[in-house]
């Protein structure tokens, strides 16, 4: 996998394009693409939207919801367990493009959500246009929660019941048990899960492209969308690659952060 990464980094220091003289004879431009990126007013917006998207839909949405569902599933009967699992995992097994179309159909102006709202007398908003980030965040939570749920179910199954029982005897309530016993015991799984879903979400392209194309304007243009537009719409491969490299760096920063703060086997 190192090949494409090295290629991206190399290309990001050139003015390679899909058309024009730079397609025929690309030349080295040093850090020009990066300085241009820093001056681009759309870039900070894009970085901010990417962070919002990752934190809201992955770190909070998928992660917390996945943990909550996994905890609740430990207390329900087998039938309920099967039904809930099927529903949640259903979104996960859909290919991304299919999930994206489904989410588009759900949030569109004349889509399912607004029809449901109209059924109870509420005039729904034009979600994809007025609240594009909210729509794509909810769509990504819907799509990705199953992964976190499965990771946490497996982790919770590994927590020895006698430890939880001991805590109960010591008089710890549900919430205290969760915070002081369960979570520390599955800390390793939390770190792994957070890292995986962060990297997955950082790379989400199809979902957003199908639902909003990064618009209206640039109000849902995350970094993958920005990179695609620069590379393949404006046909500037070099500049697009520079954005891709920035994404790699952001992913690396998140990974290091998780590994350092939540490394299993290291006492807090």
């Amino acid at each position: 996998m190192a090949g494409p990464v090295i290629w991206s980094v190399t290309i990001s220091f050139t003015n390679t394009a899909l058309t024009g003289r730079n397609a025929k004879d690309p030349s080295w431009v040093g850090f020009e693409n990066y300085t241009r990126l820093l001056q681009d007013p759309g870039f900070p917006v894009s970085v901010w939207l990417t962070v919002v998207f990752v934190v809201a839909s992955a770190v909070i949405g998928q992660n917390v919801l996945g943990l909550v569902i996994a905890l609740l599933l430990g207390r329900v009967g087998r039938a309920t367990h099967a039904i809930v699992t099927t529903i949640v995992v259903g979104a996960w097994v859909l290919p991304e493009i299919v999930a994206a179309f489904a989410a588009y159909a759900y949030f569109a102006d004349d889509g399912t959500l607004n029809q449901l709202l109209a059924g109870i007398g509420i005039d729904g908003a034009n979600w994809l246009y007025e609240f594009p980030m909210l729509a794509v965040i909810l769509a990504n939570v819907w799509r990705g929660t199953a992964f976190s749920m499965m990771v946490y179910e497996a982790a919770l199954n590994d927590v020895p019941p006698e430890i939880t029982e001991a805590a109960v005897i010591d008089g710890a309530g549900g919430l205290k048990r969760l915070i002081w016993v369960t979570i520390p015991m599955i800390r390793g799984s939390i770190a792994t899960n957070l890292m995986l879903i962060t990297l997955q979400t950082l790379a989400v392209f199809t979902l957003i492209w199908v639902m909003t194309k990064g618009g209206p304007g640039i109000s849902s243009t995350t970094l993958p969308i920005l990179a695609y537009q620069e590379a393949f719409k404006f046909q500037e491969i070099g500049y697009g690659s520079a954005i891709a490299v920035v994404m790699i760096l952001i992913g690396a920063v998140f990974s290091v952060l998780y590994l350092r703060t939540l490394r299993p086997g290291r006492d807090a």
Partner: protein, 448 residues
């Protein structure tokens, strides 16, 4: 890109080596030329033309197979896919359909074959008008692409909707202000209808420049590109004014709702539902519009002949010629990496001979670029508006034929979208555009 060419080269050599190792004495002497073009649900005229030419060409050239490879995509994606195909000799097409505004840029990229020698031997070439010949010419003076036809743009309006709003017909607005006044009258008379559309935003692609911003910009006292100095103009009043017109139109609710306008397929609604259903008063559109409504078109609506009126688009305050139009059009070109350049050119020439050009120009409501087609009664009678739009050629403008144009066009689209959605004021969007242009062409290629 070099890297991929090297890879492609290695692959070709290996394949050749394997073929020779096979030692088949009956060497493959059949030749295949690939033809790549765009096809959409609204644009099948070219597909029909090639389907017809393919068997004729194969019959006339034994041993040559024509492989048609239509790409189903909008104009922006088509260009990207085509550019990606050009990256390797393995996938580069022999003959392809190319927008005039990308010709220069793709010549610079080395994708197009110099056609001078072929054109010198092609007797039909003298039938092409001079403007059309320029469309495929590069800085080196050589011609690289042959136009299929051209187009002009003006206002298409619904007589019934304007009548209902008390507007006197024929409607002949003399300034931008008159368009806004009429639009306001329509909105007052029927608030649920679209008063006037000017394509804006990125999803409409080049349409936002050709059937949108550009029609405004070229009617101001400023220009986008100083052809004498060969520099792009920044900081112009006309640029801000043009964006301000779009802001007014969308801000006052006279244009389609921005969320509808930002759906790349709005034009289908416009031709298929709004005009036939009397839901829109007017729009800037191209001379090709009847191709959708006429018999056999995507949105057959024979009554358009009576219900639709046309007007020239006015300059900002009626200055200059009083009217403005933009012209573009598409060409056929031969790939620079083609292994069969002669056969490829012969295919191009057959597709654009008198008979085929006539058929295509009629089917696609194009303005003919061949003199013999332009005076053909069949062409003149095919569409009642063709005379009007042919006359607009006298006030028309062509896009700056520079290699940077496609990127700059994309920046204009972004500026119009920022304004129509209210994310930026016209001044802010113009400033962002100026900055982007400097980034693309460099400080030394812009002027105030």
């Amino acid at each position: 890109m070099r890297f991929s060419r090297v890879l492609a080269g290695v692959a070709t050599v290996s394949a050749a080596a394997l073929a020779f190792a096979g030692c088949s004495p009956a060497a493959d002497d059949s030749q295949t030329i690939t033809v790549v073009y765009q096809k959409t649900d609204g644009f099948v005229a070219l597909d029909e033309l090639f389907q017809k030419v393919k068997p004729e060409f194969e019959a006339a050239n034994p041993g040559v197979t024509v492989e048609l490879e239509p790409i189903v995509a909008d104009e922006g994606d088509y260009a990207t896919k085509l550019a990606l195909m050009q990256q390797s000799a393995e996938t580069a097409p022999d003959v392809f359909y190319e927008d005039t505004f990308r010709v220069r840029s793709d010549i610079d990229a080395g994708y197009l074959l110099n056609l001078d020698d072929h054109l010198a031997e092609w007797e039909d070439w003298e039938q092409f008008n001079d403007g059309a010949k320029e469309a495929g010419r590069a800085d080196d003076g050589s011609v690289y692409a042959v136009p299929l036809g051209t187009d002009t743009r003006g206002i298409w309006y619904s007589k019934s909707v304007l009548e209902a709003a008390g507007v006197a017909l024929p409607w002949e607005p003399k300034s931008w202000e008159e368009i806004l006044e009429t639009a306001r009258a329509v909105k007052a008379a029927s608030p649920d209808k679209v008063a006037f559309n000017v394509y804006s935003g990125k999803p409409a692609g080049e349409g936002s420049v050709m059937q949108g911003f550009g029609m405004l910009m070229y009617g101001t006292d400023d220009t986008l590109y100083d052809a004498d100095e060969q520099k792009w103009v920044t900081g112009s009043e006309g640029f801000v004014d043009s964006l301000a017109f779009i802001e007014t139109l969308y801000g006052e609710g006279l244009a389609p709702a921005p969320d509808v306008a930002l759906d790349g397929s709005m034009w289908q609604k416009l031709f298929g539902e709004w005009f036939p259903g009397g839901q829109i008063a007017g729009t800037i559109e191209g001379s090709w519009s009847p191709s959708f409504w006429k018999q056999g078109g995507s949105y057959e609506w024979p009554e358009y002949v009576d219900d639709i009126g046309v007007a020239a688009f006015p300059t900002q305050n009626g200055q200059g010629d009083g009217a403005v139009s933009l012209s573009g059009g598409w060409t056929l070109a031969v790939g620079a990496q083609s292994e069969h350049p002669d056969e490829s050119f012969d295919f191009l020439a057959m597709a654009l001979d008198r008979e085929n050009a006539l058929e295509y120009n009629i089917a696609n409501s194009q303005i003919a670029v061949r003199a013999d087609v332009a005076e053909d009664p069949a062409y003149l009678e095919a569409n009642p508006f063709i005379g009007f739009f042919t006359d607009l050629v006298s006030v028309t403008h062509f896009r700056p034929a520079t290699a940077d144009y496609p990127q700059i066009s994309a920046e204009i689209q972004a500026a119009t979208e920022a304004v129509m959605t209210g994310q930026m004021s016209p001044e802010e969007a113009a400033a962002a555009y100026d900055e982007a242009v400097i980034g693309i062409v460099g400080d030394e290629n812009v002027t105030q």
